[in-house]
Amino acid sequence: MKINNCFYIILLSLLTAACSPPVQPPASPAADPAANVQPVETTPVEALEAIHITDALGREVILDAPPRRIAITGKALIMILDAAYMFPEAYSQIVAVGSAAQGSSNFVALIDPDFQEKALLQQDASAEQIAAVQPDLVILKSSLAETLGKPLDAVGIPVIFVDFETPDQYARDLQILGDVFQNPERARELTAFYQNRLEEIQAVMASVTGKPRTLLLYYTDRDGTIAFNVPPMSWMQTRLVELAGGEPVWSSANPGQGWTKVSLEQIAAWDADQIMIVSYTDNSSEVVARLVTDPQWQALRAVKQGRLSAFPGDFYSWDQPDARWILGLAWLAKRLHPGHFTELDITHQARDFYQRLYGLDPAFFDGKILPKLTGDLP
């Protein structure tokens, strides 16, 4: 056979294969008792009603039956996982998770006694690797719709997309999780919790005059190089400063959509009334303790007046769009307007938060979570 003919055969094969439509599996695959296949136990489909869920992308996902094997993975999954564990059903129905650690902390591993039995997926696990744990539903951030959502669709695994990035999205996405776990009542309770806490703060804010000029800085010392970064205007961190009655001084400094590095010269030029330091890998209190001894930082007005604060956190920093953002908001509001929030006890708020959202009793909080609290808490 000539080389030309061989080439044409390869091209024709490629063309034929690629022009085939997506292949559907046989309607009822031949069962073979000798097959080494161990299907996952699921509730009989015919006994249950189909579930219709509209996700964050506006897609209507139809599930034949309530999901019993849920996988949560992909980038920024902490937000989804911490919200999902507010539903009691999550403990048994979530069977696979990506890495939920930030720094050395993993909150879900602490509260779920069966966490070690769950399949651990890499943060960048592919559709095939996710399929290997045989989930009947995967929950992802909507930013992964193109790269991971489509391949999962091709395998026939249903996917629900959520965002959990802003206070408004929290209300919507908690409803979506309520549909997933077939517990809309719990979703309403959780939404009401966030809404009530937010309204309490906004009610106090109505009587506040003047907005302190506030600077929120994310501290990193990656590769031994210290850097300070400001968030974009669309992010939760900026939104928290605004909701807490502060004026973000960096509003004109971040045209991008990610953290933007700023110099000490620029920090000095802003001359903020309040400076908040956030750290995701270090203890923010220790970072602030180091900064106040730095001669250059000592020259800043906010530092001289004792208004350099470490943003609090426990397992995760409270400034993020994680379930704890409501605690971060309360702390920030009190820090910016201490005279208006004299009765607000952040530790008490945190204890109540964990009890009502995760069912953790005060003794558990005092023993396991209180020692993890960092930041400038009174």
Binding site: A18, S20, K75, S126, A127, E146, V155, E165, G258
Partner: protein, 341 residues
């Protein structure tokens, strides 16, 4: 040299036709192994029996692994064939599509579309192709305006400059991109990978790849003439300017199409043509099919490794660079090595 003489040629003591057929068999075997290897249901082989009885395995095999395999074949063949064409036409064994602004141009075009135009798959691919051609065109025009050095030096300098310009633009786009939705997509361009390949994406690049590869394959014998200087090629009956342009366009078309879905996958376009010429000599009638087959085998092996060995997927570009650099080192240090062009 006639076709019959060609078929009687030997490489390393074996008939070249025999080696080509051995490569075809090797490619088929590698493809079969790649289709059956993965991490479902556990790390190792997926038995045909399981494919028949397990719905997920069935879908995985036909809707993920098969399109991905075909995409990796197209990627390897396109980059290798384009690399050979570039190296022959520019008389420079160190040139690959990435050296002339094509890869960086395609990545910039895709990133521009992701950040400013919404990033639909078709638009991303269209803009990647457009900017790939723009990269090549700018390199070519700039090389003509440089007033010192030989043609090859000028072209390489121009290509480096244009690539750097597009790299800077890409950096700016990364800075402006949404870190949650847009930045991961752009990062994909820099590392390369086939994890998001589906049938629809594969079909969208198929016409460009088939047209590009067909032209390169059918004109492979003209490459021998076109690698000569302008006067000699003309005296032998070629229309050097028109034919070079046609071959370059075909090479860039195929390259841009595969890059638009796979991102920047380095070293394939450099190392595979070298390897092909090492085995089949500088005659492009043999080196071209050799490059196509070797390119296909190389990328299929790399992609299967990338999606299999770790629980998380290794970016394809990292593996091709690692293996490519090792092979290049071996080739360069092997006794009796000569660069043939």
């Amino acid at each position: 040299m006639s076709a019959s003489e060609l078929s009687g040629e030997k490489a390393w003591g074996y008939p070249v036709r025999g080696i080509l057929w051995a490569l075809v068999v090797c490619l088929l075997a590698v493809c079969l192994l790649a289709l059956l290897t993965g991490r479902y249901p556990e790390l190792g082989f997926l038995s045909p029996h399981r494919i028949a009885v397990d719905e997920i395995a069935w879908r995985l095999f036909f809707n993920l692994r098969l399109p991905r395999l075909l995409a990796s074949l197209m990627l390897g063949m396109s980059l290798a064939a384009a690399g050979l064409v570039f190296q022959m036409l520019f008389n420079n064994p160190l040139i690959e599509p990435g050296f002339l602004g094509v890869s960086q141009g395609a990545a910039f075009g895709a990133a521009f579309c992701i950040v400013f135009l919404g990033g639909s798959a078709l638009a991303v691919q269209g803009l990647a192709v457009l900017f790939a051609f723009l990269g090549l065109g700018l390199s070519y025009l700039l090389a003509r305006r440089i007033r010192y050095g030989g043609w090859v030096l000028r072209l390489v300098l121009a290509g480096i400059t244009v690539s750097a310009l597009f790299s800077a633009g890409l950096g700016l786009l990364k800075y402006l991109a949404d870190p949650l939705s847009q930045l991961p997509e752009i990062t994909f361009w820099l590392l390369g990978g086939l994890s998001s390949i589906t049938w629809s994406r594969l079909i969208s690049i198929l016409p460009a790849v088939l047209v590009g590869l067909s032209v390169l394959f059918l004109y492979r014998w003209r490459l021998n003439l076109l690698s000569l200087n302008e006067e000699t090629a003309f005296s032998l009956g070629a229309a050097p300017r028109r034919e070079r342009l046609l071959l370059l366009a075909a090479a860039v078309l195929a390259t841009a199409a595969v890059i638009s879905v796979a991102g920047m996958v380095g070293w394939v376009g450099l190392i595979i043509p070298h390897l092909a010429r090492r085995v089949f000599g500088s005659d492009t009638r043999l080196a071209m099919p050799g490059s196509l087959l070797l390119g296909g085998i190389f990328v299929v092996v790399c992609d299967t490794t990338a999606r299999t060995i770790l629980a998380g997927e290794i970016p394809l570009g990292i593996l091709t660079s690692l293996l490519g650099a090792c092979i290049f080192l071996l080739l360069m240090t092997a006794r009796g090595f000569q660069i043939q062009r």
